[in-house]
C-alpha cells in the first residue's frame, strides 16, 4: 500500500525579466550570463503577490482539478519556503482558510532552502499512509530574493506548487522516497538579513551534485530501477545546467528531462522548483508512465521520489485550471527599474 | 408646522486659507450672517453646525460647542450640535434647524457649515474625503473617491454617449461663473483643452474634473416665517425639503448612472413645495466631479436621463440660459470645504432670490434649488427657496 498524489496545481506570476536587462545595469554581459546558466528569463512576483498569495493560487489550482476532494478532508497543510512573508505566523494557516480546510486540521511552515516543499510531501505521505488523515497538502513556494549585482540575480525567481497527498483516489503513486541529508554550508541566510549568501563554486560538487547524485543512487537501489525504466526525470533546477549535468551523469537523456526543466523559461523558483517541474510533467503524463524526481535544498539535503502515474489521472480534470505551460507562456516582460521597484530593492521613505 | 425663512446669510472666502483656523472660519461666517440678519446674539436660540471631519482634519470633535464658544456665545449657553452626513452635512444641518423652528421648539437658529481641510497634506486630505465610501468593501480594495466617480462616468459614457468634452463643459461653465464670484476659490476662466489635458486622476477624470480641497465656512440665520419681517424686508422662505439615503457603496446601487437618492430627494422637495422641475430657474448642485453635475441635472429632472452632458455642452445650464446651474462657480470653482458647502449653496440661492448676485444675477429668479450629496450618493438633500410674501 502506498500513498501518492491525489491532485496537483502550480502557479507562476506573469512578469518576466531577461538576463540581458539585468546584466546591462551591472556592467555585465547579461546575455552571456543567461546562456551560461541556460536561463532565458525569470519570473518576478507583482507588488501584490507573495508566497502566501502564490501558495493559495497553487492550492486552488490543485483543488479545481479535483472537485471531488472535500477540503475539510485535508487534515494537514505544510508550506515550505525560504521567503515566507512572516517569520512568525505561518503561511499554512492562510492557505487553510483560503481553501476552506480550516479549522479542523494541523498546519505548519517548513524551511529547508529549496527542498522545503518536498519535505512537506514526505511528511504528508507519512500522515496519510498511517491513516491519521485522509489527505495532506504539501506546498512549495518562493519569491526568492537575490542581492543586487550577484550572480543569483539571473536565476532567483518566483513560483509555487501544491500537491494533495493521500491514498485514494491517487493519480500517481509514490512508490519509494529516500533522502540524503548532511550539514553542508553551501548557501544560507542569517535571520534579519535581506539577501542570502553562498559559497560560490562550493555550491556545485560538494553540495548540489553530492546530494542529488547520492540520493538518486539510493533511489535506484531502493526501487530496483535503472534510468531507462523512466519516462520522465526532474531534478532541482537552480539553473538550466546543473540538473542536466546531474541527469546525464545518472544516465538520463534530454528527452526524459525536457518537460520538467522549466528553469530555462521561469528561473529557479526555489522551494517551488522541482515541484512546478513535476506539475508540468503531470499535466501531460499518461497512466503507467514513471517519473524519477530528486530535489535539493542547500544546507543540505535531497529528497528523491519514484513515481508511477495511475489510471486515476484520467479522472482528473487537468484542463480545469491553467496548466503549467499556459502559465509559463503567459508573460509580461519588465525592465530592471520596475523589477527593482517590485522586489523592494529601492529604499523607500519610512512612515 | 410653521413656515421657515432665511433672514441672514454670511460666508468666508473659500480657498487655501493658511492664516485662518477652523475657529476663525466658523465665527467669521456666523458673525456675518448675524449682522446680515440684524439680530443680536441674545436672539439666537440654537446653533447647528455642518462639518464632515474635523476629527480627522484637525483632531477636533465637539465643534459646534467650540464655534459657539469662539463666537463669544458661551454665555448664552446655546444648544449646539454638529451634523454629519458626508458632503451633505451642511444641507442636513439646515434641515434639522428648519425642523426645530417649524415644530415650534425654537424661533431663530443659526446654521453654520465649516471645514478646514488644508492643515493636513493633500494625500491625507484625499484619504479623509474617502472615508464616506464603504471602508470594508470599496476603499480597502483600492477604490478612491475619484475612482468611484470615474467608474460612474465611464458607465454614463457607455450607456448614454456622454463624452469627455461634455464633462469638460461643466468645469468650463463653472469657472466662468466663479470668475464673477469674489468669494470663489478660483476666479479664473479655464478652457476645455485645459480640462482635457490636465493630469489624469482616475480615467476619464482629470485634475480639472475634480473639485479642489478647500477651507471655508458659510452661515444662515433661520427664523420662523411669522416673525421674519421683524428683522428683514427680504425674507427668503424655505418652501420644500427632500432628504433621502441610499446604498452607500456604488456597486450596490440600482443604476450606476443615476443617484436614486437625488431623484427621491428632488421629488420630495418639489412635492412639499407643490412645484415642478420646470419652475426652477436657478440651482446650486453638487458638482464635486464634473460627472456629478451631469447626473444631478438629470436626476433632478431638469433634463432627461442621459442628456445631461448634451444639455451642458449646448449651454442649457449657463447663467441665464434655460436653467442657471451653479452660478456661484459650484464646488469646482467656488471651492468645496465639505461641511460649508450645503450652507454656501443656500447663501448663493438666497442672494439670487434677493437680487443681490451682482454680475451673476439670474434675472427674474423666483424659485431656487440647492442639491447636496453625501459620499458617492448615499445621501442627497434638496432644498427649495422662494421669495417670501
Amino acid at each position: 500500500m502506498s500513498a501518492g498524489i491525489v491532485s496537483y496545481g502550480g502557479y507562476v506570476p506573469r512578469y518576466r525579466i531577461a538576463p540581458k536587462d539585468i546584466g546591462a545595469v551591472w556592467g555585465v554581459d547579461g546575455e552571456a550570463m543567461g546562456k551560461g546558466l541556460n536561463i532565458r528569463a525569470k519570473s518576478v512576483p507583482g507588488p501584490d503577490e507573495d508566497v502566501i498569495t502564490m501558495s493559495v493560487e497553487a492550492a486552488r489550482n490543485a483543488l479545481r482539478k479535483a472537485p471531488g476532494i472535500d477540503p475539510k478532508d485535508i487534515g494537514a497543510i505544510y508550506v515550505g519556503s525560504e521567503s515566507h512573508p512572516y517569520a512568525v505566523k505561518p503561511t499554512a494557516t492562510i492557505v487553510a482558510e483560503a481553501i476552506e480546510a480550516a479549522p479542523i486540521l494541523t498546519a505548519a511552515d517548513y524551511e529547508f532552502a529549496c527542498k522545503a516543499g518536498t519535505a512537506a510531501i514526505q511528511t504528508t505521505m507519512g500522515l496519510t499512509l498511517s491513516d491519521m488523515y485522509r489527505y495532506g497538502m504539501a506546498v512549495g513556494a518562493d519569491t526568492s530574493q537575490s542581492a543586487p549585482g550577484d550572480a543569483l540575480e539571473y536565476s532567483a525567481s518566483a513560483g509555487a506548487a501544491a500537491f494533495v497527498i493521500g491514498k485514494d483516489p491517487m493519480i500517481a503513486s509514490i512508490n519509494h522516497t529516500v533522502s540524503y541529508t548532511t550539514d553542508t554550508p553551501d548557501f544560507w541566510r542569517r535571520e534579519g538579513q535581506a539577501y542570502p549568501s553562498h559559497g560560490g563554486r562550493f555550491t556545485g560538487e560538494p553540495a548540489y551534485f553530492k546530494h542529488v547524485l547520492s540520493c538518486a543512487n539510493l533511489l535506484f537501489k531502493r526501487a530496483g530501477t535503472r534510468p531507462d525504466d523512466y519516462d520522465f526525470a526532474v531534478f532541482h533546477q537552480p539553473n538550466g545546467k546543473f540538473p542536466v549535468r546531474a541527469g546525464k551523469q545518472l544516465g538520463f537523456n534530454d528527452k526524459q528531462m525536457d518537460t520538467g526543466l522549466l528553469v530555462r523559461e521561469i528561473g529557479n523558483t526555489y522551494s517551488g522548483a522541482i515541484m512546478v517541474g513535476l506539475c508540468a510533467i503531470l499535466d501531460i503524463a499518461k497512466a503507467g508512465q514513471r517519473i524519477f524526481a530528486v530535489g535539493y535544498g542547500s544546507g543540505a539535503g535531497s529528497d528523491g521520489f519514484d513515481i508511477t502515474v495511475t489510471d486515476g489521472i484520467d479522472a482528473l480534470d487537468r484542463k480545469a485550471g491553467r496548466t503549467m505551460r499556459q502559465m509559463v507562456e503567459d508573460v509580461k516582460f519588465i525592465d530592471y527599474a520596475i523589477y527593482a521597484k517590485f522586489r523592494k530593492k529601492i529604499r523607500m521613505r519610512e512612515g | 408646522m410653521r413656515g421657515v425663512s432665511v433672514i441672514g446669510v454670511g460666508e468666508t472666502q473659500f480657498g487655501e486659507l493658511w492664516d485662518k483656523s477652523f475657529r476663525d472660519l466658523g465665527i467669521e461666517a456666523g458673525l456675518k450672517a448675524i449682522q446680515d440678519a440684524k439680530i443680536a446674539a441674545e436672539n439666537v436660540d440654537a446653533l447647528y453646525v455642518g462639518n464632515m471631519s474635523a476629527g480627522k482634519f484637525i483632531d477636533q470633535e465637539h465643534v459646534a460647542a467650540l464655534v459657539a464658544d469662539y463666537a463669544g456665545l458661551a454665555d448664552q449657553h446655546l444648544p449646539t450640535v454638529r451634523v454629519e452626513g458626508g458632503g451633505a452635512c451642511g444641507a442636513i444641518a439646515i434641515h434639522q434647524a428648519a425642523m426645530s423652528i417649524a415644530s415650534g421648539v425654537y424661533d431663530i437658529v443659526v446654521v453654520g457649515g465649516a471645514e478646514k481641510m488644508t492643515d493636513v497634506g493633500d494625500v491625507e486630505a484625499m484619504q479623509i474625503l474617502s472615508s464616506t465610501t464603504d471602508q470594508e468593501w470599496e476603499s480597502v480594495f483600492g477604490a478612491t473617491f475619484a475612482g468611484l466617480h470615474a467608474m460612474m462616468a465611464r458607465r454614463h459614457m457607455f450607456e448614454h454617449g456622454t463624452t469627455r468634452e461634455q464633462l469638460a463643459a461643466v468645469a468650463v461653465k463653472n469657472h466662468r461663473h466663479g470668475a464673477m464670484n469674489p468669494s470663489a476659490q478660483f476666479q479664473k476662466e479655464i478652457t476645455a483643452d485645459m480640462v482635457l489635458q490636465a493630469p489624469r486622476v482616475a480615467e476619464p477624470l482629470g485634475l480639472f474634473d475634480c473639485a479642489p480641497l478647500s477651507d471655508g465656512a458659510a452661515a444662515l440665520v433661520l427664523c420662523a416665517k411669522e416673525k421674519a419681517r421683524k428683522f428683514t424686508d427680504t425674507p427668503i422662505d424655505l418652501v420644500g425639503t427632500g432628504h433621502a439615503s441610499d446604498f452607500i457603496a456604488v456597486h450596490d446601487r440600482r443604476d450606476l448612472t443615476t443617484i436614486d437618492a437625488t431623484v427621491i430627494a428632488g421629488k420630495r422637495a418639489l412635492h412639499a413645495a407643490r412645484k415642478t422641475p420646470h419652475d426652477v430657474k436657478v440651482a446650486e448642485v453638487h458638482d464635486n466631479f464634473t460627472i456629478s453635475e451631469i447626473m444631478a441635472i438629470e436626476d433632478l429632472r431638469f433634463v432627461p436621463k442621459g442628456k445631461g452632458g448634451f444639455a451642458t455642452e449646448d449651454g442649457e445650464t449657463a447663467l441665464n440660459a434655460r436653467i442657471s446651474v451653479n452660478t456661484s462657480g459650484g464646488l469646482k470653482a467656488r471651492g468645496y470645504p465639505v461641511g460649508a458647502t450645503g450652507v454656501a449653496q443656500a447663501v448663493e440661492i438666497v442672494r439670487q432670490l434677493r437680487g443681490e448676485a451682482g454680475k451673476r444675477q439670474v434675472s427674474g429668479a423666483e424659485l431656487g434649488l440647492t442639491h447636496t450629496l453625501g459620499g458617492t450618493g448615499g445621501t442627497a438633500v434638496v432644498h427649495l427657496y422662494a421669495r417670501g410674501d
Partner: protein, 133 residues
C-alpha cells in the same frame, strides 16, 4: 486597518461567502443580517452562501492618483464586477494591460495582497480579478 476589523471579514474576502435570504431567496455580498428587500421578516433567516467569484466587468477606471497604501500598484485598474450570481463588487483587475480592459470582459477571482500595516504589521489579503480562464 485594525486587526479584528480585518479578521472578521476573512471568510468573505478570501472565499466570497455571502448570504441568502431565507425569506425571499435573494443573495447579498457581503453577508447581511437583514435582507434589504424583506426587512424584519428576514432576521434570523439569513443563510451563508459561497459565491463563485466569476463575473464580468460592468465599469472600470484606471486610478493614477492613489493613497500611499497603493503607491506600488499605480496606475491600477479599479472595476465594478458583476458576479455570475447577479451581485456586484468593487476591486482591482490585475494580470492585464489596462488598455485591454473593456466593459463586459469576463473575469475570475484571484487571491492577492490588499495592503499591509507597514513593514512590521499584518498583511491583508482578499479578492482581485483577472481575465477569466
Amino acid at each position: 486597518m485594525a486587526i479584528p476589523r480585518f479578521w472578521r471579514e476573512i471568510s468573505s474576502r478570501y472565499n466570497f461567502i455571502g448570504s441568502k435570504c431565507g425569506s425571499c431567496g435573494a443573495l447579498d455580498f457581503p453577508p447581511r443580517a437583514v435582507c434589504p428587500r424583506c426587512g424584519r421578516r428576514s432576521v434570523g433567516k439569513m443563510e451563508r452562501l459561497k459565491l463563485g467569484g466569476r463575473g464580468k466587468v460592468v465599469t472600470f477606471t484606471i486610478v493614477h492618483d492613489a493613497p500611499k497604501a497603493f503607491d506600488m500598484m499605480k496606475p491600477y485598474v479599479l472595476a465594478i464586477v458583476e458576479l455570475d450570481e447577479g451581485l456586484r463588487v468593487t476591486s482591482q483587475v490585475i494580470d492585464v494591460d489596462p488598455a485591454e480592459v473593456k466593459i463586459g470582459m469576463p473575469v475570475e477571482s484571484a487571491f492577492r495582497k490588499l495592503g499591509e500595516e507597514g513593514e512590521a504589521g499584518i498583511i491583508h489579503y482578499g479578492y482581485k480579478f483577472r481575465p477569466a480562464f
